[in-house]
Amino acid sequence: MNPSIKLLLLLVIALEISFTMIISLNVALVILAIIYLGLHGTKLKTLAWLLVVPLLPAIGLWSTQYINGSGDKTLMAWVLFTRIYAFVFTGATFTLTTNILQLADALEQNWHLPSKFAYGVLAAYNLVPKIQHEVKVIRAAGLMRGQQLSFWSPQLYFKAILVSINWSQNLAQAMASHGFVEDAPRTHYRHSALHARDWIILGLGIIGMQIGVFVIPWH
């Protein structure tokens, strides 16, 4: 399935469950997401991890409504508890089956996102491991000088931005020297297709969601 269409469908679902208060619908979405992930060969361990990740914020939202809410406190508490799980599991159907490269290709080829945005972000994204390492280096360098750089220290961010400026110019020059021209037409090695099938799935998904929200009398 085309990644951009999949993302669009998931965003519509996420927006809609943010404004509805149907516990069963949230649970149904979680179950559908688990089935989808299962069909795509997601490991049980990963699924179990997805259950743990949002647990703390979910309990936080639950207890806030249960203790300090108004109206039907129990209902709202469980709506919010299941809603966050619906967000995480539907999100996982995207992030665990699609990578950012496929998404960038789809946005560039099917939706005419300027190529400098698609490839610029990809260039940065591929540096993630190096960035995580660099944060440790900056912190260690600070410690050597007796400076404890915490998340509220401007120096920590200042140094991170200095490195970013440096790397962004190096990367841009490297890309230019390999023949990347901004705003010039490009040919593509990897093709991202947008089939009629994708539009049909999007349509059916949105219709299914409306049935779930407005037609089925959930209890």
């Binding site: 936080g60 249960y66 995480v88 260039a123």
Partner: protein, 191 residues
């Protein structure tokens, strides 16, 4: 897409790198959020952990807007940070993207209101105010705030604004002052 013309490739990479760097730094703060949430949940004030730290998560957008001074830089900066966070398995799943766009656009509104001319305390304060308003409106629905008792809503709103102003305003100003003093910003746009 007229606004896209004023962007250079190095700007796009820069803003994405900053978003990822900040994300990597924020990952070290997850324990603060977790401990605060766990401590406050039994008294039903877990949202305070979110309110206290929200300014930090909105900082990439406000800083990108202030630093690059291009139309859309605040929105794009925050959206990219959110995209990376989602791919690394954040606690909010797909809603991270919606929050990212809204947080970024909220910050952008502050710069729009000051016509992209006030890169000073006025612009930063306006941005902190609009970010607070937009994100709070979204949380009324998403986090069910509209069902909370009124005193708690007021408390959350005030704490959120203070957080936005401290991280997005004061910290951004301190960081950009350091950048000004080092004269590195003049050297951008030379590719």
């Amino acid at each position: 897409m007229k606004w896209a013309k004023s962007w250079y490739l190095s700007d796009v990479i820069l803003i994405a790198l900053i978003g990822i760097f900040f994300g990597a730094i924020f990952m070290g703060t997850n324990y603060v959020y977790d401990v605060l949430t766990a401590a406050l949940a039994p008294v039903g004030l877990a949202g305070l952990a979110n309110e206290l730290l929200l300014g930090l998560w909105c900082m990439p957008g406000m800083l990108a807007g202030y630093l690059l001074r291009l139309k859309g830089s605040a929105t794009l900066g925050e959206l990219l940070a959110a995209t990376v966070e989602m791919f690394f398995g954040g606690q909010w799943g797909i809603s991270t993207l919606i929050s990212g766009v809204l947080q970024g656009f909220g910050s952008e509104l502050g710069y729009i209101a000051t016509r992209y001319k006030h890169y000073d305390w006025l612009g930063l304060t306006a941005s902190a105010i609009t970010t607070t308003l937009v994100t709070f409106a979204w949380d009324l629905a998403k986090n069910g705030y509209f069902k909370l008792q009124f005193w708690l809503l007021v408390l959350y709103f005030i704490v959120r604004f203070i957080s936005m102003f401290f991280f997005g305003g004061v910290l951004t100003k301190l960081i950009t002052d350091l950048l000004d003093r080092s004269h590195v910003l003049k050297s951008t746009h030379n590719n």
